[in-house]
């Protein structure tokens, strides 16, 4: 008996499907790169391939990367994050509009040059999280070393202050996102690996709450107190280091 291997993440060919095996003419097979995606619903893969194909026919590109909640299990995504790496100027809004009109799904298109992406990965945890779980048209080079710019991180962290003052009015998802932002910056500063799993583990460890509870808005006063204490202490550290960096420059 011989065996035939097919990619685990594929369109069609569900287990149990009858197939006919016939030789094809030799041609280059284009295969996307999957990063930390164990499985993906076939319909989503179809959407991803469609995005690649539309962009390829529309503009020049160095790479196309799909990230965000589309790649999470289920169908709770509001839009699709598409990162288009290209050295030339493009009409971002126009590409976004074309993708949306063909797919009928909201698209959040971000255009960057390779140099900009490298810098973003060095200074901003959000980009590291994005690329940690993604599908790309071409291979993504290894992540660059981090460069801690504390004032920049302070600016990104200040948004998470909202949870302290307005906890009773925010939805569970809003609370989760603000907490995720704070913890992602914390892990980035502590030079720890950034992934959704690591962030959620750290949320549980530092704030004694499971992410699902947070998303479902099952929180109490104890959590807010813990969050505030953690935020204020970490904010102090960030501001102190930012001021030190400013003086050194």
């Amino acid at each position: 008996m011989d065996q035939i291997y097919i990619p685990k993440n594929r369109q069609g060919l569900e287990p149990g499907t009858y197939v006919k095996i016939i030789p094809i003419e030799e041609k280059t097979i284009e295969r996307s790169y999957f990063y930390n995606i164990k499985e993906l619903e076939p319909i989503k893969l179809e959407i991803v391939n469609k995005i690649f194909s539309i962009i390829k026919n529309l503009t020049k590109y160095n790479n196309i990367i799909i990230a965000g909640s589309l790649l999470d299990k289920g169908f709770n995504f509001k839009d699709i994050d598409v990162l288009l790496i290209n050295e030339e100027k493009i009409n971002e809004k126009n590409v976004e509009k074309i993708l949306e009109s063909r797919l009928k799904i909201p698209i959040h298109l971000i255009h960057m040059t390779q140099k900009e992406l490298k810098k973003a990965l060095m200074i901003d945890p959000i980009w590291r999280i994005m690329l940690n779980k993604s599908i790309s048209y071409k291979r993504i080079p290894p992540l660059p070393k981090t460069n801690l710019n504390y004032k920049y991180l302070d600016a990104q962290m200040i948004k998470s202050n909202l949870l302290i003052e307005n906890s009773e009015c925010l939805t569970g998802n809003e609370k989760y996102k603000l907490t995720r932002n704070l913890i992602a910056i914390y892990l980035f500063v502590k030079q720890k690996h950034l992934s959704k799993e690591n962030i959620e583990r750290e949320i549980e460890e530092k704030l004694n709450i499971e992410s699902e509870e947070l998303k479902n808005n099952i929180i109490d006063e104890k959590f807010i107190k813990k969050y505030k204490k953690f935020y204020k202490k970490f904010e102090k550290e960030i501001i102190k280091n930012a001021a030190k960096q400013e003086k050194a420059n």
Partner: protein, 113 residues
């Protein structure tokens, strides 16, 4: 002002204040271009503030002058306090002159002024 309305105004103030502080801090760094690529969270912050604004009173009718002054003053004080704390510790290039400009811009977007 009724308690619920006051809460909504406070929420609105909180959201705009964080957005203004964030924007001024980002502009004081050399990395504002990088931040400009990912505006989704800032946009969410502003979208939420617009929702609160619509709950305060219908968006097509303007707020009483007294409320507009209260909101604007509160935001300016809040942002100034945050930024001055940082300046006193050694932050450079923080343009406090931007506070009023950005507050006006965001309030206009939210159809407050």
């Amino acid at each position: 002002m009724p308690q619920n309305r006051k809460k909504l105004i406070d929420l609105f103030i909180g959201h705009i204040s964080e957005a203004v502080s964030h924007e001024i801090l980002i502009r004081s760094t050399e990395n504002k271009e990088i931040a400009s690529h990912y505006k989704k969270e800032l946009e969410n912050l502003l979208d939420r503030s617009k929702k609160y604004r619509e709950k305060i009173n219908p968006k097509n009718s303007s707020l009483p002058e007294k409320d507009i002054d209260y909101i604007k003053t509160k935001i300016i004080i809040k942002v100034k306090t945050e930024l001055k704390k940082r300046i006193s510790l050694g932050y450079k290039n923080i343009d406090l002159g931007l506070i009023e400009i950005l507050v006006d811009k965001f309030l206009k977007e939210a159809k407050i002024s």
